[in-house]
């Protein structure tokens, strides 16, 4: 089967077969990243514009490296240094960028749904690099690839996702992706950070206690507490959060022996993750970052030249 989407906006839009194809491609492309000459000519002559309305180092660099490893020309635009600060609308920015004939726009935006809006207005492919609290498909895919490499499959895995579920686009993409692939997702977090009715998404269980979610889990995924945002209004104190929802060696011992610890980064050490856990043998955090490049290469490869579904 092939990949028939012009854009990748959300994992919710993808079928199990399409997710599997992206993961297989990424898995095979990861070999390129181990070579001395880390480059293939596949997207030679294509132009990828990284349009980042929100600060990002990891994701933007990862997309840039991915584009360059496929021989595409990557151009970075950050909102703070662009005409956005002069009041230009997204629509006008898109029209101007489109006039320069890019093949793919990779965008991060603080507004959920901004990508869908953009994708409908441009003829080139649009890849979502994170939109508000909606989705972060490349992160979801790289997380799933990391799990699949470790356990050989996703179906039947118990995945605990702990933290600010409401505002986490990483959590949402993982929930859609993992449940589509047959994994069981257990969520835990402060009641102020747990969206009501999230169980309706499918094979998702909301746990009152973090220990219940982590118990016999194959994967423990900790989310970043956004100290700059929700931290101030939704939590009594960081100390209390860390006590009830932070991952330390005692809580991790409840998970399966070969369980892995994941985090989308950047880590608040001592808040959601104890330093000793972040750096322990079970930590797959650096593997996630490594897989990020391969996953983004797979996404760029499959959207570039793909035809929209009628």
């Amino acid at each position: 089967m092939g990949f028939r989407h012009k854009d990748i906006i959300a994992l919710k839009d993808l079928t199990k077969e399409e997710i599997e194809l992206l993961l297989d491609t990424a898995d095979n492309l990861s070999e390129i990243n181990q070579r001395d000459i880390k480059k293939v000519p596949t997207l030679r002559g294509k132009t990828v514009i990284n349009l980042f309305y929100e600060a990002s180092t990891r994701t933007r660099t990862s997309f840039e490296i991915a584009a360059k490893r496929l021989s595409a020309d990557a151009v970075n635009i950050t909102a703070s240094t662009s005409s956005v600060v002069k009041g230009e609308t997204l629509s006008d920015t898109a029209a101007n960028i489109l006039a320069m004939k890019p093949d793919i726009i990779v965008m991060r935006h603080s507004v959920s749904g901004a990508h869908e809006y953009l994708a409908k207005r441009v003829s080139c492919s649009v890849i979502n690099a994170g939109d508000g609290a909606h989705e972060h498909p490349s992160q979801g895919l790289l997380d799933m690839l990391t799990m699949r490499q470790k356990f050989g499959k996703l179906a039947g895995l118990k995945v605990a996702i702990v933290g600010d579920i409401t505002h986490s686009r990483v959590a949402r993409s993982n929930i859609y992706g993992l449940t589509t692939m047959g994994a069981k997702v257990f969520l835990a977090g402060p009641p102020t950070m747990m969206p009501p009715g999230i169980e309706r998404l499918g094979n998702v269980t909301v746990c009152k206690d973090m220990r219940e979610a982590v118990d016999q889990a194959d994967v423990v995924m900790m989310l970043r507490i956004q100290l700059e945002r929700q931290g101030k209004t939704l939590l009594p104190s960081m100390r209390e959060y860390s006590r009830y929802f932070g991952l330390n060696p005692t809580v991790l011992a409840l998970a399966k022996k070969d369980a892995i610890v994941m985090h989308p980064g950047p880590i608040n050490r001592g808040v959601e993750l104890a330093s000793s856990v972040a750096d322990c043998d079970q930590s797959a955090i650096m593997k996630q970052v490594e897989n990020g490049v391969a996953v983004r290469m797979a996404m760029l490869y499959h959207v570039c030249g793909g035809e929209p579904v009628e």
Binding site: M1, F3, R4, N28, I37, G305
Partner: protein
């Protein structure tokens, strides 16, 4: 309705591979510095077969690798759905080696060009030789094989298929009209 003709049966394929193995040894005066690289997917199975024969004759293991050329194709725009990407697995350095590139069918030569690009991205071999089970003609590029199992003149509309069994052993070569 498609008409199938068996060009090489199981015995014929075995004989062709054994002959290629002897020719490879003669041309290279042994297996010193020799590596086999199969082009995914049929070429890889044939490279393993050829490797086994070379080892039998010389009593020395010949390294066998696999190269996937999907990311090196020159016709990416022609595909609405991108082809699945396979893995390149070269468990050895090609630097300074005599590489024998193995494929099942030699046709336009574009696959071979892509495979050579892929190999050069991994290092600089001292030379690349080409071994194919069937050469069906119709080259678009100035490429020729050093070792050929069988030359089969075909028309462009015909197709050559190399069949493999469940253990990836070649069973026959079929001409589809």
């Amino acid at each position: 309705m498609a008409e199938n003709t068996v060009i090489l049966d199981g015995t014929g394929v075995k004989r062709a591979l054994t002959r290629i193995a002897h020719e490879v040894l003669e041309k290279n005066k042994g297996v010193e510095g020799l590596v086999l690289v199969g082009i995914r997917t049929g070429g890889v199975h044939l490279a393993q077969e050829l490797g086994a024969r070379l080892s039998e004759i010389e009593g020395v293991e010949v390294p066998v690798g696999a190269v996937d050329i999907t990311m090196y194709r020159d016709d990416i725009k022609g595909h609405h759905e991108h082809l699945p990407v396979g893995k390149t697995e070269l468990p050895f350095s090609v630097e300074g080696k005599k590489v024998v590139l193995v494929d099942d069918v030699l046709f336009t030569g574009r696959t071979i060009r892509a495979a050579m690009d892929a190999i050069f991205d991994q290092g600089r071999p001292s030379c690349i030789q080409l071994a194919v089970l069937v050469d069906r003609g119709h080259r678009d590029l100035p490429i020729r094989a050093d070792f050929v199992g069988r030359n089969v003149p075909t028309s462009r509309s015909e197709n050559i298929m190399v069949a493999f069994d469940a253990d990836n052993k070649p069973t026959e070569v079929i001409l589809q009209k």
